[in-house]
């Protein structure tokens, strides 16, 4: 590295990285344990349900992590497209989170395998194939079939992976060379990157998540997933920064002003998520057309209604009020606590999106199985993050915006 850097080179704490193998092992075991637990959800009477519950639970936990990484990708590109100076010292963390996306493609392989090698409708009812689906879905099979589904998923991941790796690689090269034109190049490509990634997120949400209920449709669904992911990302960032600062990292580089700004973003996306969620609900509630309300019908009974109400309170009302004031956003402990709570709610949100069906009812066993699966996925996420980040500095070293970021002040 060059010596004119204004920030010191810091990497993930060694104690963290030493735990990576254990995290991965425990995570893997937890996912298997979740499979075992979910298998018994339906009881002896309905073994098929257990399989369905597990895959839906796996996908929900998978999306919990993937949406966070996609939020990180958007954050990176938004900073470039807006020529933001304040974020130069936190952007690298987002780049590292976005750099996790290739691993999510790997973790999606079990689902792709299920789609390719079985015709099980456990996760995607359209996978049963022609003749075994309702007439409505029959018409959609030209789009929702294993071949095209795989092609599209690979296309989405290609867009995300290319964007994530390119922005990290450019930023890393700037660490070495200190070439300011790299920043200009990143600013130039952030715009197209946002457009393509946004389209991929939108249609990816349709394919990967919404097609678990292929009869139902919502054009705002992709935006909903985007909003949820952005919120999850900001909560993750705040928690991550808080943990790193406790491990004596980023002490000077990331100060209260930066966290305050992350908290403002987080607050904005709390409202945005609620806005989008309500927009979808209002139109379907008012129109009251069976094919549109069927999705809500599955979620307004069998115990799921309490999950839905919990989302209104926990995903919107409580964090909205709790992180509204300036003082609350500048109190690291308070803020990190609420960000952790938001992450929990993000998990509940993914569960609410993916688990309820006509047959899958809310139950304690399901919750435990899903929770264990979540634990496993988060541990896998953490372990893979340690491996993948390795010795990469946690702050961009020669970013021309660094002085602006270090002297950044939110104002009164």
């Amino acid at each position: 590295m060059t010596t004119n850097s204004m920030v010191s080179e810091q990497t993930l704490p060694g104690t963290w990285r030493n735990k990576a193998p254990m995290l991965l092992a425990v995570g893997f075991i937890c996912v298997l344990l979740s499979l075992g637990l979910c298998y018994f959800v339906g009881g002896d009477a309905n073994r098929a349900i257990g399989f369905s519950v597990f895959f839906r639970s796996y996908l929900a936990n998978f999306m919990f992590c993937l949406t966070i990484c996609l939020g990180a990708l958007f954050f990176v590109m938004i900073q470039h497209v807006a020529r933001a100076g304040w974020s130069a010292t936190v952007r690298r963390l987002a780049e590292l989170l976005a750099n996790m996306i290739p691993w999510w493609l790997v973790l999606f392989v079990p689902i792709l395998a299920m789609v390719w090698f079985t015709d099980s409708p456990a996760l995607y009812p359209w996978n049963a194939g022609s003749g075994n689906v309702s007439p409505l879905v029959e018409e959609k099979l030209r789009y929702l079939n294993p071949f095209w589904f795989t092609i599209r998923v690979l296309a989405y991941f290609t867009v995300w992976v290319v964007c994530a790796k390119w922005f990290l690689a450019q930023s890393r090269r700037q660490d070495e060379t200190g070439d300011a034109t790299i920043t200009l190049r990143m600013q130039k490509w952030a715009g197209p990157g946002i457009i393509f990634s946004a389209l991929a997120v939108n249609f990816g949400a349709f394919d990967i998540m919404m097609s678990t209920d292929p009869e139902w449709f919502s054009t705002i669904y992709g935006v909903y997933v985007f909003a949820a992911g952005m919120l999850g990302f900001f909560a993750t960032m705040i928690v991550l920064v808080s943990l790193l600062k406790r491990s004596d990292r980023l002490q000077r580089e990331v100060n209260t002003e930066h966290v305050h700004d992350l908290a403002k973003f987080q607050f904005g996306f709390i409202v945005f998520w609620a806005y989008i969620a309500f927009s979808q609900l209002l139109l379907y509630w008012y129109g009251n057309i069976p094919e549109e309300t069927a999705w809500y019908h599955d979620r307004w009974g069998n115990g799921w209604q309490y999950v839905g109400l919990l989302l209104i309170v926990g995903h919107f009302a409580l964090p909205f009020l709790a992180t509204m004031s300036r003082a609350s956003r500048r109190n690291q402990v308070w803020l990190a606590g609420w960000s952790g709570f938001i992450l929990l709610m993000h998990w509940v949100d993914m569960m609410f999106l993916l688990l309820p069906t006509e047959d899958i009812h809310f139950s304690a066993l399901l919750l435990i199985g899903h929770l264990v699966g979540w634990l496993g996925m988060v541990l896998l996420f953490s372990g893979l993050f340690m491996y993948r980040t390795g010795e990469t500095p946690l702050v961009a070293l020669n970013d021309p915006w660094t002085p602006a970021a270090l002297s950044y002040e939110v104002g009164p």
């Binding site: 309500f278 209002l282 509630w285 008012y286 009251n288 300036r326 002297s407 002040e409 009164p412």
Partner: protein, 538 residues
Amino acid sequence: MSEHQPKPQKVRPPRSFGWTAEYDDEHQLLEAARRVREAGYTKIDAFTPFPVHGIDTALGIRRTKLPWFSLIAGMTGTTVALLLQIWTNAIDYPYIISGKPYISLPAFIPVTFELTVLFAAFMTVFAMLGLNGLPKFSNPVFTNPKFDRASDDRFFLWVDSRDQYFNADKVRELLEATGALAVEEVREDDSPTQVPKAIYAAIAALILITLIPGAIVLNMRNSKSPYPRWHVFFDMDFQPIRKAQQPTTIFADGRVQRPPVPGTVARGELGPSDPFVLGYDPDAVAANLPAQGPSSRLVSYQQDGDEQPPAPVEPGAREQPPAPEEPPAPTPAAPDQPASSEPEAPPQQPAAATASQERPVSAEESSDGAAEQTSATAVAATDDDAVGDEEAPGAVATGDAGGEPNYAWLQTFPLEVTAELIQQGRREFEQNCAVCHGLAGYGDGLVARRAAELAQGYWLPPTSLHEQRIVEQPVGRLYYTITHGKGKMAPYADALTPTERWAIVAYIRVLQRSQNARSEDVPPGVDVAASANSDNVR
């Protein structure tokens, strides 16, 4: 203001407001602010061309209370919006919209959201103005021309003379010691405080001028004028249209009124000759009509293709079919018009009263007017009858004002009366008629009972279908009443097909018979006592 000479009577020296120090850059300003504050001064302020980081802590400015105003106003907005919607939609005027509950929260959210934002935004703006003491038209610091550079490239520090430790000399010393470019006292503006009279005059003139349009409008609205109205907005006031009898240049024949397009079937023209539809035999009625003279009608139709000079049409010059829906206009040329004093009476001969109404109409009229009613109601009833009779097409009236139409009523049903038809009639009767006439036809339907309960005076009770005069009415007459209505009763021609109307007539006959049953009606082999027991429910 520099040319202004102080007035001689002013003896008081100009008041000092405080001191300003001018700096080249914000670092000097920040340092100076810190030193002044350390010296104990609290009423200090800074003026800079751009926001300076750290100036708030340097000046010791406390956090603004503004967010609390916004929060409280926002919560007020939420509450007001919810209460407003609940009150208007669920309490004051409960109104079902889209089949949703009165209080349906999802529908209320958008308005609640908007009002929350609106209240919070307004409160934020006005509280900001209030907390800043705005609007303020002048500030003493503006008396120093150098101060203009505070919005350009200079930084000013301000120490207010109202500070509790204020001492002019010490403040000046302190400020000079901070390396200020200039330290100056801000004195009271010596320009006159009087507002020039010309401004008052101009304001008064403006007010007067703005009153003129209103005065003109008021004047024009309250006075008559031989001139047409001013057309500020033309809207559709000027169009090449004419009133009915005016000439026009648009059509070759110069007439505004256009004849009907060939093949036009006017409302009511279709199928009037069928006794099944009418309830009476039009041929029999026509046979009783006197020969109509050519002058008996004022208005004539122009047949298509009938070449016609644009000259005014001579009244009654051409043949035309009777207009069934409209009362024939009074004919001045009819010398034998018996009811010329009653312009709405159709031009008929009294001798035409040949059909089935045996009783004198006047008697029927009085019975129709229900003797037990108040006189006012009776009058209303008579009027209503008269109005109802106007609708009678080509009525063979008896000549009495407001009399019953007297047609060649059908005495028998024009369709086969089956048990099925009677059942259908019962259905239709209970759906359409029973609300007023009652299920058994005694005129005691729910509406009638409710109206009697309210006793508001102007209610005309529905006729009992078991009155002798109704029982005696031929079926065609009943059918006609259903078709055209009677008194307050609305016509049912639009709601019921002719078959349905006949079915109701059949059922009315059944009802009437059921209330006047004789022992011969009981079929042989029926145990009257047993069925009486079971029928005792009524």
